[in-house]
């Protein structure tokens, strides 16, 4: 759908109205140096991260299996037999 001629003619007036109420904010600079804020954000991030691409469910399954073997060591021979 394209803007028809009537709309195109009206945009100039609408633009002037909008720009008088909400002046353009071009060429704005940050009020302060943002690098310290960025560094804080980086330092607040968790140091440990799961290797990307491995679904969380796989990690949960691995944890569950590890826990089961720790609590029930007799399962280890059965597991080795089936591997």
């Amino acid at each position: 759908m394209a803007i028809n001629e009537k709309d195109a003619e009206g945009l100039g007036g609408l633009r002037r109205r909008l720009q008088s109420a909400l002046p353009p904010m071009k060429n704005r600079e940050p009020r302060r140096d943002l690098w310290p804020l960025m560094r804080q954000r980086l330092e607040a991030s968790p140091r440990f991260a799961f290797p990307s691409g491995v679904p969380w469910f796989d990690w949960a399954l691995l944890g569950f299996a590890g826990g089961a073997l720790a609590f029930f060591p007799r399962l280890i021979p059965a597991l080795l037999y089936h591997l």
Binding site: M1, A2, I3, D7, G10, L11, G12, G13, L14, R15, R16, R17, L18, Q19, S20, A21, L22, P23, P24, M25, K26, N27, R28, E29, P30, R31, R32, L34, W35, L37, M38, R41, L42, S45, S52
Partner: protein, 174 residues
């Protein structure tokens, strides 16, 4: 090797120069959408945090500026969605001084309120095109949509805005 290539290759030390190279441009883009300097600062940091997290997937030969602008635009739209539409939009103090008569000030407040009530995805297009006078192509790239989709959003935004303004007794074209 330029700073983006170094960062994409895993050199964490390259992140600060990369940040310093692009952060003003990113801030300038975000503040044009959200019109709040404090929010724009936070969103700028968030944009670069996304860049940092994506370092292993970055294309060293890619257009970092365009990538950042696209992420920044999405974050700015999310911010507008979270913001209540009843909160008044920020005007420049200078603009308020210029509007010397009470009637003019009231009309400008009505326009700001009506504009703030636009759905964020339409408002961003109207903001960037009508107020900031950005080219359609640049808006389309920043939103990750086609040129015709931007024009359609623009058409819908102006139609809604005109209706709202007429309902409140403001004729949008002098």
């Amino acid at each position: 090797m330029d700073v983006l290539a170094r960062f994409a290759a895993g050199d964490a030390e390259a992140f600060e120069p990369l940040f310093r190279q692009y952060h003003r441009e990113v801030y300038g883009w975000i503040v044009r959408i959200v019109r709040e300097p404090a929010a724009a600062e936070d969103l700028t940091v968030e944009t670069f945090w996304r860049l940092y997290q994506s370092r292993s997937r970055l294309d060293p030969a890619g257009n970092c500026s365009a990538w950042l602008r696209r992420v920044a635009t999405n974050l700015a739209i999310d911010h507008l969605r979270r913001r209540r539409p009843t909160e008044p939009l920020v005007a420049e103090p200078a603009a308020e001084r210029e509007a010397d008569c009470v009637v003019e000030q009231e009309m400008q407040a009505t326009i700001r309120k009506a504009f703030g009530e636009l759905p964020p995805r339409l408002r961003v297009v109207a903001q960037l095109r009508l107020i900031e006078e950005e080219p359609y192509q640049r808006i389309a790239e920043s939103l990750g949509i086609s040129l015709s989709a931007v024009k359609l959003r623009m058409f819908r935004a102006t139609r809604i805005l005109r209706k709202k303004l007429e309902e409140r007794g403001v004729k949008p074209w002098p």
